[in-house]
Symmetry: C2
Subunit: 137 residues, 2 copies
DNA sequence: GTGTCATTGAGAACATCTCTCAATAGTATA
DNA sequence: TATACTATTGAGAGATGTTCTCAATGACAC
């Protein structure tokens, strides 16, 4: 091997997926994103959408949370570790920061565990949806 | 209507599923639980396993966490709200309690959100698995 | 303009979970 | 104990979400 370079290429689909994810108000499923792209006139295969979403998550440019029956994605400006406040009605999400995660390390140490990662998502209703008592999802 | 009673019945399957879940070291998938029952000689349909697991979760006797491509279950002695420290290698789990969740309410209030629920799971390696550096999963 | 190869798209394959409905079996009552 | 009622079960079809395969496409270097 002389020089194993494999540089990424810029494609229309890649950019469209990134932009559609950024424009989504909150967490969105891969299927929904695919449909949005179709509606916007961008042809992109479902496999490509899954591939790109996976790549964005790996690159730290998107967050993902597993839900019953699937996975939800969201573009994240903040690259480092943070959490979300997600509206269960409209899917809108706000980034939040816990005051201290020291207790997690203490609890792990007390049980002899070595922490690799943790998941914290808070679900509720955003002000807009809370103001509509009769129409919750 | 005179008396709409529909009392639950005690069945072999119901008890076997409850026991197999209690005996599992940590979180386990419905498929794995089904296989364990088969190996133990208890015939139980996959649909029944899913039904009973769902019933246990509803009754507060089991916890469930969504993961990529499925759902994991675990029997819980504690009925009230708590969290887990899960080993990513062997699936073993320990129940932990955060010192205070007041900041979650503060963060929600600051954004105008009404909290309905939150998910917190900490993943890592248990002492046993951490002691085997070459064999992680 | 040309060649290389990363990326794409269609759909098959796979995995998880739910639904349906006839058969089974737990429980109350005679 | 025998019988009737009906909650529960099991097998498999079906729905849904995700990944894999591979030939075709097109971005980029030269």
């Amino acid at each position: 091997m002389t020089s194993t370079r494999s540089q990424p290429r810029q494609t229309v689909q890649k950019e469209a997926i990134r932009q559609a994810l950024a424009e989504a108000p909150g967490f969105i499923s891969a299927q929904d994103l695919h449909q949005r792209l179709e509606e916007a006139g961008t042809r992109a295969g479902l496999a490509t959408v899954y591939r790109q979403l996976g790549a964005l998550v790996t690159a730290g440019e998107a967050d993902t949370i597993p839900i019953a029956g699937g996975q939800l994605y969201r573009a994240c400006a903040i690259g480092n570790h943070h959490h979300h406040l997600v509206c269960e009605s409209c899917g809108n999400a706000v980034e939040i920061d816990p005051p201290s995660e020291e207790w997690i390390r203490s609890a792990a140490a007390a049980n002899g565990y070595t922490i690799t990662r943790h998941v914290l998502e808070v679900f509720g209703l955003c002000p807009t949806c809370a103001a509509q008592p009769t129409e919750v999802r």
